[in-house]
Point group: C2
Chain length 278, copies 2
């Protein structure tokens, strides 16, 4: 039975993405909730899939406002086994969940740092003096909201429903066009059938600026990069790992040839997967 | 009299970078502290320099472990006037500042999200059940530490000294090789004498994947990019702003020619500055 790890608890946007994946992949399945395993951090959800506790981990990789989710990028690079099985894009709308009857009664607001950041202008305008407390997930603060009438949490409408708590304002995200892309990670070998491919590489040591060679591999073949993101190697300032997305399947002959050449100009090259986006 | 805005309050690593800049630039100056204007957020410090309240803003741009400081990248893109005058690299070492006598007495830890992230493994190991509270600066939590014996803050040794509070553990950052690069921003026109140059560009709308063309402009001329970082345009998922660092002065003929060509393949191109790193 397929078990799915996700950044929990129930009611996070990641849970919504994980449910979407199950419904797409196994439309006839019953008892979805019994397959869902919430984890308190992204790295724990990823490790659970890596060591076989679960088959699949669903984690956020990128938000249209806040950018890349660095914890996911760093965990992907460290993973030896996981491949991207699928990408899922969901619209994000945040609710202010509180038992307070009006905004002026609120003293603290809890949310994941990305949740706080995505509502920053709204918070600056409507709750300028309120203490903002970062939590490991958008729903962690809901337990406090249930007990403390001066507390509020920023989370999904679904979270309010699950925890049976009232919504005071909705939506409160600064940008109405707010989308998050999630990755479905598993140990199944990468397909060659996907429409999108992702890879990551580090550069040879003591050549921190030698990014031009790997880029030339793609540019020479007119292979378009739909995304390039850098993360520090954590070894020394100025050394990076590059994450690249390409809108092509991995068995595209042009792309395959590029991968061969890329081996010779990178230190460590990882194929992260070939997958569909839905 | 040159006034400097920085991410405050006093005792932040950004203050140390700002003091370093003043000492380098004006070695004979007296009364450094009277020139230092702390601001509670990066965006407010940058706006103060933008609108002329101060001459200079000093802000963090990149840490060797945590990567780019997204707030600084986003503010730089929005700024119409500011140019990078100088980059400053400082080693970062975090202290656990608390009036508690032992770790088991601590119930909450306050720090800037980057401070918490840079000590994450140490916190997981030594204070696994403690609530982590994100603040706008590494020193904001020191006021709470002064009042509450169960509170701790992660900040610099200098912060402990300024606030006259005891250090329980030092250093607690997960990686001993931890460096942050800071930018000195001002309205002075960019010099052509710097050893490093930075620029940023967005791609033409409805061509979200067309990154290959700008990269080809550099690759064709064998101009090495020492850093490339992407940020979302915040318009729609898959559209990015690219920040590029080049180890060459802006008046290098090869680089100058590349800039001309870059104009035609980008939507909006900003020269962020040409500067020295120290």
């Amino acid at each position: 039975m397929t078990m799915i790890a996700y950044l929990g608890p129930a009611g996070t946007f990641t849970e919504m993405a994980a449910l979407r994946y199950l419904q797409l992949k196994y439309p006839d399945l019953e008892h979805y909730p019994s397959r869902m395993c919430p984890y308190p951090t992204i790295s724990q959800a990823i490790k659970a899939a890596e060591n076989g506790e679960v088959e699949i981990a669903v984690v956020p990789i990128e938000n249209s406002i806040q950018g890349g989710v660095t914890m996911t990028l760093d965990s992907l690079w460290q993973s030896e086994l996981l491949q991207i099985q699928q990408a899922i894009v969901l619209p994000i709308a945040h609710a202010l969940i509180t038992r307070a009857e009006k905004l002026t009664d609120i003293k603290t607001v809890y949310s994941h740092p990305q949740g706080l950041a995505q509502c920053q202008q709204w918070l600056d305008q409507h709750l300028p003096t309120v203490q903002q407390i970062a939590t490991d997930s958008t729903t962690e603060g809901l337990h406090t909201v249930a007990e403390d009438i001066t507390a509020a949490a920023i989370a999904s409408e679904r979270a309010a429903e699950i925890y049976n708590l009232p919504i005071l304002e909705f939506p409160i995200n600064d940008q109405p066009d707010n989308f998050t892309r999630f990755l479905v990670l598993g140990r199944t070998a990468t397909t060659t059938q996907g429409t999108h491919s992702s890879l990551a590489f580090s550069l040879k040591r003591n050549m921190p600026g030698a990014l031009v060679k790997p880029l030339l591999v793609f540019a020479d073949r007119q292979i378009n990069l739909s995304r390039i993101e850098s993360r520090p190697t954590k070894r020394s300032l100025g050394e990076y790992i590059f994450f690249i997305d390409i809108d092509a399947p991995i068995d595209d002959p042009n792309f395959y040839e590029a991968l061969q050449e890329l081996q010779s100009v990178t230190e460590n090259l990882k194929i992260l997967g070939s997958y569909e986006v839905c």
